[in-house]
Symmetry: C2
Subunit: 213 residues, 2 copies
Amino acid sequence: MRIAELSRISGVPVPTIKYYLRENLLPPGELTSPNQASYDETHLHRLRLIRALVDLAQVPVAGVKDVLEGLDSPTMPLHDKIGRAHRAITPQRQLPSTSEAHDAATTQVQELLASRGWSVERDAPALNTLIETIAALRTLHQDHLVDFLDSYAAAVESFTEIEVAAVTTRTSSDEIAESVIVGTILGETLISSLRLLAQESISAKRWTKPAGN
Amino acid sequence: MRIAELSRISGVPVPTIKYYLRENLLPPGELTSPNQASYDETHLHRLRLIRALVDLAQVPVAGVKDVLEGLDSPTMPLHDKIGRAHRAITPQRQLPSTSEAHDAATTQVQELLASRGWSVERDAPALNTLIETIAALRTLHQDHLVDFLDSYAAAVESFTEIEVAAVTTRTSSDEIAESVIVGTILGETLISSLRLLAQESISAKRWTKPAGN
DNA sequence: CGTTTATGGATACTGCTACTATCTATCACG
DNA sequence: CGTGATAGATAGTAGCAGTATCCATAAACG
């Protein structure tokens, strides 16, 4: 198919497709002549993947590029591909000169990892975010959430087990990487939406009738 | 305290504080003379809240403004304040002309809500995101995650119960609104980080040794 | 009491991201 | 053969989140 059809089916404007081609998010079509290329199902699929990551999961284009480079690599270990996905959805934060709250949070996180038996690299992108978030919650006098950290972690673990189980049902090793990455990134969007819906439902029941400010 | 000290303690540059003042994210200090104002603990706290939402939770400044306006309103029902928080973290998406996948996803979500007994407004911001995400997952041939939607929802419900329990331990109705909003927004960051850590740990165990790419 | 430094308020400018628009030289198609 | 689409290159745009500059004061210091 030509670019116009690709655009029509995917709903992505032609100039945007050209932009993705320029940025190497999308591999070039097969040139049939100096100014004619033909695109196929793989391009359509890739384009849909890009839009899902950008629109739904709010991943910046540069991050999508990293993720896709990982997916396209035949030699990169899956664990490293996952690392790219994680980095794509956890913005790099500059470390803020160890404060008191920061140190306390670091300790708590270390304890949590130990008690749960989670082993992660010390420069895992999410580690910093978790520490900063806990420190922020404490500084904002919202310790109550932090007190339940362990329950949260337990519930989260059940998520991840579900996910791993889901992924391992797909045995084709070609597909498993994309499955994991999409699951990681879009799964986050999915869970987040579910959480907000659950919250709205509970909030409606609890705080619309008794006018509790 | 003066602006320089506010800046020093919070780590936020003076020009940025001025920017937040301009945008009415931060209430003006008390003027002691035409060009001198003094700020207090409430300004510091508000500033920290802004930074947490902006830096940690990636909420756009305009969204933070909405959320804070809600928090500052003495008359707005809590449920509406929560609505503002939800809108702040779910970017408005333009609906993409009902497609086949979209319709199927809509049906599935309706069934989920019914089976879980969740009652939400039909224009809840998260509803659309959930539907779009499910549609995208199916279009990308990643149905496996969607198949576990109910398990996800169950686990998510346990989150929210934890949260509600945590919040209700704080009875001061003045504080409850901020608690809920901060819990909603930073809680998302917290859960997301935990999930990534759990995933990394599992991924390390599963896919670094057997080179399973 | 004069000089240096900081401040409030207003306006302008910047860097970054994610596109859009335009242009040119083909090329396909009726 | 003429109309319209296309690849590829270059330039321009809108929105966001700050930064920078300026001015007229006011505080702090010697």
